[in-house]
Each structure stands twice: as C-alpha cells, then as structure tokens.
C-alpha cells in the first residue's frame, strides 16, 4: 500500500511547477504573431444603440480589424444560449456575442478591436464612436420588484421566473403555531473575483480546418459544444484546452462568454492566433456577480423552538441576463432548510431583471443567502423564547437514524432533494467544544469588565454536492509503468492532479509518483460536464476510481495468464503484480502493459516481448486478441449518481466590536466539517480556509456598489475590498466528521464551497450578540454599524399582536428615519 494514497495529506504534485514560474495560464500562451483583442463596452446601464462608427479606430496604426454585431451571421449572430432551461423560467433573456441594438448593463460588449498588441487595441477602443439613446435603468431589487421601469418591455414585472415549491400546508402550520415571527433578510452583491480574470486564446488551423481554443473555463466540454454550435463547426473540429486557471469560484462555469465566441470567430477570419485577456476593470463590469437577495421569512414554532411551519419569499436579482437559469435561487430556496426539516415548508422565489451585470453561481451559489435566512431565524427564535441558540438548533436537527431524508422538493440538478447521510448532532457536539460555546459567557463577562464588546455566532448548513449527470475517467498503464489518467473536468487550484493520483495509486496499487493526471483537455477526454457545485472529487474521483478498478482487474487477469496463476491469488503492490505475499513472483505492471498489446513491430527492448516470434506458450486456436477483448492496458468508466450527495458543516465565530470606532474584529473562527471520506485532508482544509476568507470578505468587506444610474462605483481593488491577510482570522480552527456517502464508491462528498456558506450568518449573529442591535443586512461595514448604533436609540421591535398568535417584526433600524444627529447614508 502506497503511503501517499487515499486519505493521506499528500503534498501537491502541481506545486513544483507553479512555484518556479512554470505554470501555464491562458495569457502565457502565444507569441509575436498573436493578435490581441479588446472590447468596446457600454458606458450606460440601459440604452439603445443608434449607430456605431468604427472608422477612426480602423485608422490606428496596428489595428487589424474592428467588428460589430453587423459583422456576425448565422448562429453567432443569435442570442447566447440559455444553458439551463426550466419550466418556471418563463421569460428568459440572454445577451449577444456583441450587443445587437441595445445594451442592458454597463460593461456589455459592443464592439471588438483586434490589433497587434493590447495597448494599440485599447487605443482603438477609445476611438470607436457609439451613439446611444440612454434609457432609465432598473437598479436594485426593490426597484426591480416595484417594476415602475421595465428592463425589457415584454417582461412584465421584470420577472424572469416565479417558482414555488412546498411540502405540507405551511400557511396553516405557521398560522396555528404557538409562536410566529416574521423577518426580512437582506444580502448584497459580491463576486467570485479570481486573481486571474477570464482569458481566451484561439488558433484556427486552416489546413486541418481545426480550431484549438485555450480558455480559462470551468468547463472545457461545455465551451467546446457551445463554440462549435455558434461557429458552425463539427464538434470534432474544435478542441478546448483548459491550462492552469487562476481561480474560478463559479464565474468561469458560465459559457460561452461573448469573448469565447468572438475570439475564435476572429481567429478563423484572420487566420491568425487571437487572444483576449480580461483586465480587472473588465472583470468587474462584465463577469458575473452573485448573492443579492431579499428573503422574507414567516415562521411558526413551538415552545421548544421546533419549527412547525415556514413560509419564505425570495426576491433574487439576476442582473440583465439569465443564461445560467435558476440554479442560484433554487439552491437558496432548497438549501435554506439546512440540517432541519420543518413540518411544513413553502418557498417562492421571484427572479428579477436589473440593469446590472448578470448573476450566476459564486462559490456557495445561493446557499449563503438561504443559510443566512434560516440560521438568523433560528437565532431569533432562540432570542424570542429565551433559549440557547445551539439548543434551539438541536431541537430541530434531522437525526442520524432518519436518513435518507426525502423532502419532496426538487434540487438544482432536477432530481429529488434527498439527503443521503449526515450526523448533525455530531457536528454540534464538536463545534460546541471547538469554539468553547459553553465557556463563552465567562469570556464575555471578563471582556465586559474590561470595557470590551464580544459576541458569538453560529451557522449550520447542508450542501448538496456532486450533482450529475456524470463524469468519466480514463486510466492507462504505459509500458514504462507510468499511469496516465484523464478526466474531463477542469482545475482551478483544487489540486485535482494530486487527489486523483492518490485515488489511482490506492485503487490500482501503484506508486503515487507514477500517476500523471490530465484535466480539462478535450483532446484527452471529451465527455464531461465541468467543475462546479463541489463535484470534482465526488464525480471525477469516483469515475477515475471505477476506471482504475477495471484496469486493476484487467491487469490481474493478464498477469494471471503470464504467471499461470488465478487472478484471485494476485495482488498489485507498488506497481508490481505478484502472488499475494510473494514478491519473488513480481512482474511490473509496465510489463503487463507490454503483454496486453500484441505487436508486430518492436520499438524498444520491452516491446520485444510482445512481438509475434518472441516465444512463450501460444494457444494457436485463439487469435492474438481474444473475442470481446481489446489491446492495451487502459479503461474508461463513468460515474453517474442517482442524486447529489449532501455534505454538511457548522461554523462558529467570536467577534469583538470596538465601542468607539465600530470596527469589527474576528477573535476566533471554528469550523466543523463533514465531507464524508477525505481524499486529502490537507487539500480539504485549504479549501475551507479559502472559503472562510471569502465568507469573511462577503460578510464584512465586499459589496458591489451600484449607483442609481447603474454605474459600478467601486470597480477596482482599491474600493472593492477583498480581504488581505490582515482581514482574515489569525487562525481557523477545523475539526472533521466523516460520514460516508452511500452514493459513490469512495464514500466522499464535496468540499469546495463549504467554507463560504454559513459565514455571513455566523458573523451577523456574532455582531448582533455583541451589540444587542438587530443585524439584518449583510455585509456590514463599521460605518453601517455606526449608523445602526445611532438608530438603535429608536424603537424597540415593533410588536403586533394578532388573534391567537404573537407576531414580532424586527424593524431594520437603517430603514427608520435618521436620528437628527445622524447623516444616514443608504447603501449605494
């Protein structure tokens, strides 16, 4: 058994390359002859295009071409695809590769310049004259819902979709519950913001009539399908290669981006390599955002805090276009339930158009919003009943013996929302110890005596990971003994090459070092879905394991012939096939690979053994390749699960708020995490660290600040405040629980998104706990906390007594009239 197999904290094989500057990202590809593209982008949030005059831009020395929508024809001129249709998505709208006659957000691509370098291309972009008729934009959820202006004249109410799911009679359950509370929870926009933006490099080979496209995508097969359709090419004429990718976090799963059409389109016309590298400003205004939602919760519960009924209405801002369908609001509306199963539940979401950058999944993909609403509701139930917040959650947990749990709802993969396994009380027990929940009041008292304000917050979540439909893996033993593995999913830093090599090393019995993994290259593996929804390890890991098992069986069978033994008596140890426990009988798997492929021609010493006159016993009654068999020592297999597997976790955070400056500091952050069996704990913890940091960013620093005109006021790293090291907790305490999934051969669940999901919920709760002021809107800045403190001098929670029930509605103090001494600034 290799010591670097499944479950070991193996050092990554990717790293020696990446730390020496030998990584290869899209922008690293190309040479002197490569042409560079830049795009004219709309400066207006909503406008009609009257005319485009590219004449002056053409005249710039070094400009090769300027293209507008008028230059496009056929499928390339039609709207970009609606990737994920849904019956409730009644009014889908998608953009064009280049704007046709209207623009619907600042940053939308209007024209394309191709030039000898990017500097010249930008010179020309500045000279393309576009005549716009500027229209009044719709910005913000409340404006969109009010629908006084419409983004599209033929989309009433600005609603692309209204979708309801329910089980039980939630309205009655809420109405008849002993206690009832209503809340409105508000989350603002953030974005994935990978350190590398998007990028595309296209090479049209006019002799072979083949297109090779390198793109920083999360789905090379998706891009391949979309590009071949849009450019009128056979699928086999297009190869898409995903080289090293500098982070994705969701934004790169969307495809085709306009540039993924236009760059290869231009390359075909010009017969030259063409590349486009998104700059940071472009990324802010033309790559997707996420998160903005308003969630209204009406909850009924008993004296123990058990939720008897829950009604939720979600307003979801999806921006100007909706190519990725309803995935984000479906996640928010179903994953809101977390580790609880209220007796009755009804959720309705309305997905609204606004004149802002489109919204598509960002790590967590709607779950942070849903979890925020549910977890904060749990906090308030506890507060209302005067109970411990953890105890109220425990009263609502699905118990370990209840699995599988089928909610009767449909999940984002179009399959039942059915939890496969989990141990939520176990998470709570570990979290209680890890964060010191029971000792916190002593700590608070101590801090108070020093004039300090501290608070603690919790967030539990369940995350559907590893959705289908499928992934595949190809495992090939070379005659050298090396094992080459290919899978279709792409990598953006998850360490797939390491994790998958660990799986193969374990399943096949070969040294970890001998396993070399390729991802995201349609030349090596053409069937795939992509990297998203924490599915890489679950899906490709499982497929690769299945393929490796087939190779192992085949290796043993072939070796059994050579060793004249029964396959059941053989084992593979460190790449040697041997009779169990008898190394003297060992034959290298490379030798088995030689024997697996009968040869006429020898090309090296090893291959001589497989040639036709090499001697050895031959059964002349049989052909060299037995019927039903095949040459070579390689296998392909696929994994296609019946449903997603549901990972879970719990976070707790202790914050300190400065009584004077309203600064918010995280004193302690604790994570208990259950992603089933871990392939590589080191990689899993790295994913959690990164997720938590993004969660902290989303809770305390990051917001997309659109003004009323639809201009993004903070489209730079100066003003969009991604955390530096100084903003993340000094240490993130992690504990694991491993509840295997019964759905896949390795018992694993996804881990990629876990860190980010409950972070806003936990931090908001901790600030509320420290301050004694209701925290409703996230993220929150010191300036906003200062405003809330001022406003908190205002009324107590408004209490409405209704017949038979008590209904309390917390009012967001920010929505109250400002105190005379306060200049209340609304969030832009």
């Amino acid at each position: 058994m290799t010591t670097r197999g499944f479950g070991e904290p193996v050092k990554r094989v990717e790293d020696p390359r990446l730390v020496t500057g030998k990584g290869r990202y899209v922008d690293d590809i190309g040479d002197d002859r490569t042409l560079h593209a830049a795009f004219v982008r709309s400066p207006h949030a909503r406008a009609r295009i009257r005319d485009i005059d590219p004449f002056e831009a053409y005249e710039v020395d070094g400009v090769v071409a300027v293209y507008t929508w008028d230059d496009l024809a056929g499928p390339a001129a039609e709207p970009l695809p609606l990737l994920i249709p849904h019956p409730d998505l009644t009014h889908p709208r998608t953009g064009y590769a280049l704007a046709r006659d209207a623009v619907n957000h600042v940053g939308e691509a209007v024209a394309m310049v191709v030039a000898r370098d990017r500097y010249v291309a930008e010179d020309a972009v500045a000279l393309v004259k576009v005549d716009y008729e500027v229209l009044k934009p719709v910005v913000g959820l409340r404006k969109a819902a009010a629908a006084e202006e419409l983004v599209y004249d033929d989309v009433p109410g600005n609603a692309a979709a209204v979708s309801t799911q329910a089980y039980g009679d939630a309205a009655t359950a809420v109405a008849q519950a002993p206690h009832r509370l209503t809340f409105e929870w508000d989350i603002e926009r953030s974005a994935c913001m990978p350190m590398e933006g998007k990028g595309v490099h296209a090479r049209w080979d006019r002799h072979e009539e083949k297109l090779t496209l390198w793109t920083a995508t999360q789905t090379s097969t998706g891009v391949r399908g979309a590009v071949s359709a849009k450019l009128g090419l056979d699928l086999t004429q297009v190869d898409v290669v995903t080289p090293d990718v500098g982070g994705g976090f969701g934004v790169k799963i969307v495809h085709p981006w306009p540039e993924e059409i236009m760059v290869p389109w231009a390359s075909m016309r010009l017969g030259r390599d063409v590349k486009w590298t998104e700059d940071r400003r472009e990324h802010f205004v033309s790559s997707a955002h996420e998160r903005a939602q308003l969630l209204t919760v009406d909850v009924g519960f008993d004296d123990e805090g058990r939720v008897l009924g829950m009604e939720v209405d979600i307003l979801h801002d999806h921006g100007a276009y909706i190519p990725y369908g309803l995935i984000v609001p479906i996640n928010a509306s179903t994953q809101l339930l977390g580790p609880y199963k209220p007796d009755a539940y009804r959720v309705t979401f309305t997905s609204l158009y606004t004149n802002t950058v489109l919204v598509t999944p960002y790590r967590g993909a709607g779950r942070p919003q849903g979890v925020y609403a549910m977890e904060r509701t749990m906090d308030r139930i506890a507060q209302y009943l005067g109970k411990d917040r953890l105890a109220v959650r425990e009263a609502n947990f699905i118990q370990p013996d209840e699995f599988p749990v089928d909610f009767g709802l449909m999940f984002q993969d179009g399959r039942p929302l059915k939890y496969d396994s989990g141990n939520y009380p176990g998470l709570a027990d570990k979290l209680r110890a890890l964060v010191g929940w029971d000792e916190f009041e002593d700590f608070r008292a101590q801090a108070r005596s020093e004039g300090r304000r501290v608070g603690i917050g919790l967030g539990f979540y369940v995350e559907g990971t590893g959705p289908g439909p499928y992934e595949g893996g190809h495992v090939q033993v070379l005659t050298s003994g090396k094992v080459k593995v290919a899978t279709g999913i792409t990598s953006q830093g998850q360490g797939h090459q390491t994790a998958f090599a660990q799986i193969v090393a374990t399943e096949l019995g070969v040294p970890f070092e001998d396993v070399i993994v390729t991802t995201g290259d349609t030349r090596r593996f053409g069937y795939s879905v992509g990297t998203f929804a924490s599915r890489g390890a679950v899906m490709s890991g499982s497929a690769i394991a299945l393929a490796a098992r087939k190779v192992r069986d085949r290796t043993l069978r072939l070796a059994a012939d050579a060793l004249e033994a029964d396959p059941g008596d053989l084992e593979i140890v460190e790449g040697q096939v041997q009779v169990k426990g008898d190394p003297s009988t060992a034959v290298g798997i490379g030798t088995v690979a030689v024997l697996s492929n009968p040869l006429r021609y020898a090309f090296d010493e090893a291959s001589k053994a497989a040639t036709q006159f090499s001697g050895g016993p031959v059964d002349y009654s049989q052909p060299p390749i037995a019927p039903g068999d095949k040459p070579g020592l390689d296998e392909t297999d696929y994994y296609s699960p019946p449903a997603s597997t549901f990972a879970a976790g719990a976070h707790a955070v202790i914050v300190e708020t400065d009584p004077d400056t309203a600064e918010i500091h995280i004193l302690k952050y604790a994570v208990v995490h259950d992603c089933g069996r871990m392939v590589n704990p080191r990689i899993v913890e790295g994913q959690i660290h990164g997720g938590v940091a993004q969660g902290v960013g989303g809770a305390l620093y990051e917001v997309m600040a659109y003004d009323e005109a639809g201009q993004l006021a903070n489209a730079s790293f100066m003003d969009f405040l991604m955390p530096y090291v100084s903003e993340v907790p000094t240490s993130i305490e992690i504990d694991h629980l491993e509840t295997p999934s019964p759905l896949n051969p390795l018992g694993i669940k996804g881990a990629g998104e876990a860190g980010v999901i409950p972070t806003s919920a936990a931090i908001a709760a901790a600030i509320e706990d420290a301050e004694g002021i209701p925290i409703v809107r996230m993220p929150i800045s010191p300036s906003e906390l200062f405003d809330l403190r001022r406003a908190a001098a205002y009324p107590e929670p408004v209490v409405n007594t209704m017949p038979g029930t008590a209904s309390t509605r917390w009012v967001d103090p920010a929505s109250l009239p400002a105190a005379p001494t306060t200049e209340s600034e609304d969030r832009p």
């Binding site: 700059d279 940071r280 400003r281 309203a662 620093y701 405040l721 010191p782 300036s783």
Partner: protein
C-alpha cells in the same frame, strides 16, 4: 488597462528635466515613484502627452539630510528609505509614525515622499504631516527656484500650487522644538487602505507639563490638509488634567468631512473625534516622556494605513 501613448523623456540632469517641463508645460507629467500616477494612466484617467521620468536624477535628487532643524529629502527619496532612516526618526518622529501607514511596504519601496506631496491627495498621510509640521516644498523651474510653505502648497484635492513647468525637487519636514510629542494613527477598512479618517498630532508642553500648544491635522477629512489648532483649549493646562473626550467633541464641531463608499460623513466626523481623544493623550504623554516611543520611532497602536504615491 493599458496606458495611452506618450512621449517619454528620461533626463540625465535636473536642468534637462526643467527644460523638458518648460517646453511641454501642461502636456507633461513628472514620473517619480509612479505608485499613484501609473494606475490612473492605466485606467486612462490621466493621459499625459509627455512623461518626464526623473528616476535617473538620483545624484541630484536622492539626498536625505537630517539637520538640527529637521529632515530634508530630495524628490527621489523613497518612502521606505525615509521610514528606515534612524536619524530622521529621532529628529522628526512624526514622519516615521505616519510613513508606516502609507499603503504597504512594497508600495513604499518605490513610492517617493515628495511625489506623494506633489500628488496632493487629501487621503494621503504625508501632505497632512507636512502641513502640521509647517514644512515646505522647494520647486524649481527654468524660471528659478522657490520655497513654498505647506500652508500655501495644497490648494485642492489632487492639486498643488506647482506650476506645469515646475519640479518639486525637495521637501523639508521641520523638527518640533522644545518638549514635544507627536502621534499618528488612522482607521482604515482594510490594513493598508486609504484611511476613513487619520490624524496627526503635535503636542508641546512646558517644563511643568502644561500644554503650550496642541495642533492636529486630519487625513481624509478635508479637501486640503488643514491644521486644527486646539492650543487655546488647552494652553496652560497640565496634560494630565485635560479632558480628552471634550477635545474630541470640539473636533466634532470643527471638522466637516464628506462621505463616500466606505464611510459616511457622520462616521468620519465621529472617527475624527475618537482619534482626537486617543492621540492627543498619546502625543502629550510622549512630550512628557512617559509614553513609549517618546524618544523616536515607536508609533501608535497597530499599524493600519493608507495612501501611496
């Protein structure tokens, strides 16, 4: 985000640089550290037709001179060099106290202090320090040389009195005479960001620990650095008897900041008061020799910072 075209000049002497500036006047920009200019050029918010790179003028503009009166720095003295200069830290501690808040070390390795002054960003630290200390900038052109007092130097946000043909060749940060203490701190969103509010304080005491003067200047609070003189509020009072909270309230009345994405106007005003309360005490204690850092380099609180150039 690529800068537009310009004609590049790399003069080998200051005289050559001044000729170039005189020739191209309004069309020319001086490139020193570039930490503020290059990003705005990359965003094409600035597109000078001529760029005069003075980085080859170190022999003439690279001097850092510490005298009994204060610290004089040439236009090519980088923030990092000034920050690390032990003599400067002793002579004018406020300079080092503030420099530690200027962006991040990597920016300070390249950015120049005189460049930051010339950039005249109201969110930057060093203009405030120059104003509070009553320093000056020496500007030279083909017309001659003039010394401009800090009080006259800054005329608006991102605007100084430097003429188009003038090069800021040096700046002088005077030492504070007598029993003096200084303090600097700022409140930022992220470590290293421009301050939501920053404050520099100079306190002077007599031999009986009574205030003889107390002056403040704020970062990110006014369009140009303004000195808020609270001497009348405290003169003659032993520093231990001063009500620092009351000084904060006084400042609340005196400042009139604007709001932006990161801090409302009212929050800025509040932070100005909080910093006043904290730092007037600290500066006075330094003057009295009872606070850490009284001698020189030790700064205030943890380093949080902003500003670049």
């Amino acid at each position: 985000m690529k800068t537009s075209k310009f004609t590049y000049h790399a003069p080998r002497t200051v005289a050559e640089a001044l000729d170039t500036l005189a020739e191209h006047s309004v069309d020319a920009k001086v490139l020193a550290g570039g930490q503020s200019l290059v990003p705005v050029m990359a965003m094409r918010l600035a597109a000078p037709a001529h760029l005069v790179d003075i980085n080859k003028l170190t022999p003439e503009l690279g001097d850092l001179e510490v005298t009994g009166d204060g610290v004089r720095i040439g236009a090519l003295v980088r923030h990092a060099r000034l920050e690390r200069d032990a003599d400067a830290a002793v002579r004018v501690p406020l300079v080092g106290q503030a420099l530690r808040h200027v962006a991040h070390p990597t920016i300070r390795n390249r950015g120049t202090t005189v460049g930051s002054l010339a950039h005249a960003d109201p969110s930057a630290e060093m203009p405030v320090v120059l104003a509070l200390l009553g320093g000056s900038v020496v500007a030279r052109s083909v017309r001659g040389e003039r010394t401009i007092d800090a009080a006259d130097f800054f005329v608006g946000p991102m605007e100084s009195v430097l003429g188009y043909d003038e090069l800021a060749v040096s700046a002088f940060f005077p030492a504070v005479p007598g029993r003096a203490g200084t303090a600097f701190d700022e409140i930022t969103r992220r470590h290293g960001d421009y301050a939501m509010c920053g404050l520099a304080v100079v306190a002077q005491l007599d031999e009986a620990d009574r205030f003889t003067s107390l002056r403040l200047a704020f970062v990110s609070v006014s369009d140009v650095p303004e000195v808020v003189d609270l001497t009348d509020d405290v003169a003659g009072t032993p520093y231990t008897d001063v009500d620092h909270a009351a000084l904060g309230d006084r400042v609340r009345e005196l400042v009139d900041p604007a709001g932006d994405l990161h801090a409302s106007a009212d929050f800025r005003r509040h932070l100005a008061a909080v910093l006043t309360q904290r730092l007037t005490r600290e500066a006075a204690e330094r003057a009295a020799g009872v606070a850490p850092g009284a001698a020189a380099t030790a700064g205030t609180a943890p380093t949080t910072r902003g500003g670049r150039a």
